[in-house]
Amino acid sequence: MKYMIIGGGCAGIEAAREIRRRDSEVKIIIIDDSGDSFIFRPALKEYLMGAIRKEELRGLPAGFFIDKRIEFLKGTVTSLDADKTLITVKENGKDTVKNYDKLLLAHGGRPNLPPYLGDRDLKNVFQFKSLGDAESIKSHLKTSKGRCMVIGGGVLGVETAELLSRMDHNVTLLSRSENLVFRGIPKRLRQRVRNLFEKNGVAILMCKMVTDIEISGDRLTGLVLDDGNLLEMDMLIACTGISPNLNLAAEAGLEISKGIHVDRTMRTSRENVFAAGDCVVLDWSSRKILRLWEPSRRMGRIAGANMTGANEVFDPYPSFYHTYLFDVPLGFFGDFDTPGEDYDRVTRKTDDGYRELVIKNNRLVGASFMGGRPSPPPFLHLMKSGKKIRGGFRQLLDDDFDIERLWYQ
């Protein structure tokens, strides 16, 4: 039996581990084109800031692949034929064709670039996805004095803007829409996030379109906005989302839309082909897209298990995101935005904090918060188990609510 995994990100690695856990004999091959095998991708932010060293980015102990007898191949998969169960791999400029018994597509996505940049090769325009990107940004920042533009108001955009600002750079964040962090963020919470950034010297421009760009040599020097203003800059980091890699799936005739379609067991529309992580879309769930670390890992594990013949299902709920912006906690849980009909929202506002719970049929289904002393796991536990708490959910909004208590219930 030969298991082939395309992509050595967290989804791919977890799948490989799960296969090995269940079967000590089979052949497992991971093919990855980046060369930096399994890094803690989100920790690239800490790396950029200089808080951790390159070795600490590694997500696996040394000797892992040898230990687990997992073959790791550096190469790019350029073609997939699901009828003949063959893939083509480009290694050192040479194409080789390999066959598989079971295949996992865990090759993530590619960062989008704003269309107005075209496909010019501009020296001060960066993406932020790989270790290489982080290195380039890092070295540019060493000499950068002017304005750093961060494009995109999503999770990565706000986190990158925060990071650069904490490194004492002059940062402007530009968002095309009126959303910040997540689509559907409660309005008042959005305002508080904005205030927080502005208090820390980051300018945020929302609902602005770029109508033209200014270039000098191989450098981008300015963006012209639809209100006529010119934004001059020293560098630009595009955090305008990740598009799943779909070419292999398209070529093999898999069902795709905004990602590769998978069912609850991470099977694609073709036999013996599975997919997991950033490259998939869950068209059967209200949370269709979960391009985050934890669900990617779990998906990978479930795909791995099912590749060996198990029948485990992936539960996307409750999805959540938690981070710190300028040391202030910010969290989003479950259906914090669109829980359908018949739900109640309870909110509590302070000057710089905000908490909101979404309750449906006496069940906690979503929450968003900023500030306070949150502890995500108990929240998740409540949402997942559907448990009630004595005294009502409203207490969760209190500063002195003993969230630890939930653990013991």
Binding site: R21, I39, F40, R41, P42, A43, K45, E46, A51, I52, E55, E56, L57, R58, G59, L60, P61, F64, W293, E294, R297, R298, F320, H322, T323, Y324, G331, R373, P374, S375, P376, P377, D399, D400, D402, E404, R405, W407, Y408, Q409
Partner: protein, 362 residues
Amino acid sequence: MRKWVSHDIDLCIGCNRCMEACPVTKKHITIADLNMATEPETEVPQNIIDFSFNCVQCGRCVPVCPAGARRDYMVLFIKYKLRAQKPGKYDKYIQIKDQDKRGFELMKQKLYTTYMKLKHRDLRQYMGSVPSENKEILFYPGCYINSPEVIRRTMKLLNFVGTPYNILGGLNTCCGIPHLLIGEFELAEKNMDLLHAKINRSTPKIVITGCAECFEALVRIKAKHKTEYDILTVTEFLLTHRDKFPKVRLRPNITLHDSCRITRRYNRGEAPRKAIEMFSKLVEMENSREKTLCCYYWNMGHDGANDKNRKKRLNEARGKSKTLACDCITCYEKYVGLDDGIEVIDILELFEEALDKEGGAR
């Protein structure tokens, strides 16, 4: 626990902030190694074994984690794993504390208790007997009944307040947290269940304690057995009777050492602050509240750096005030007498001094 811990490993994005914040000694630990060691079936490398038993379960790693993972539980799980593999190792702290010791261990426990009873005759009646008379208040010192100075002080203050109370103390009323902290979950659970039964005999309305570990045990018992009584720290209880105490100024200013459990874990750091403000002026240290540092009492690895770390903490305090107050008896005992340059007090001393001062004036 196993399920939650594996969820925590999934959450972890490897940013290393938890280890940045962690105050105990560790040698070249990467998050990759640590996470791998946390998984149920994996082997634990020696540097992580050392670190795990150094981990004091202070929870300083928790509020810094951007992903909301619980590093403290993850490390606790490693201890549990190791203990299950090699029972009997790292026993020092639970050697004589346990509610139903047997054989030689029981003899040791009894011997120690007899010795303490002879030494402190005034307290002997509280060393191991379980009160059954119904009284509103139960003062639960557990094993620190063997710290007579603190007990006498607490009793003096409770007597002054005047509400009738029982005392439940002794090695055989162990709260179970020592077991929990080294990963003996079953023993911890057993001790807490036994304690629950002992508390219930006198059907108290309020249970008070001065120890952060006992406090945690009580909170856990309350949640598990859905008990009715309130749980207060001694300081919190005294504050409910604050009007009875004379208003005197005792020190120009005082700084406060927060407890890992009472303040950080349970967010109950207000009482000691109010108490200090009653008699003096509070000056906060940089590492206070959520950022508080550990007293290293629960360092099972007997790390040589503990005293150095404590002194560093006292230095920080000295930069703020001539007096450092501790709210938890464990912290107090670890810091008192360590450095001549700063006065370390149990926060109850303020109440006591206030009474003495007024008594003298009368």
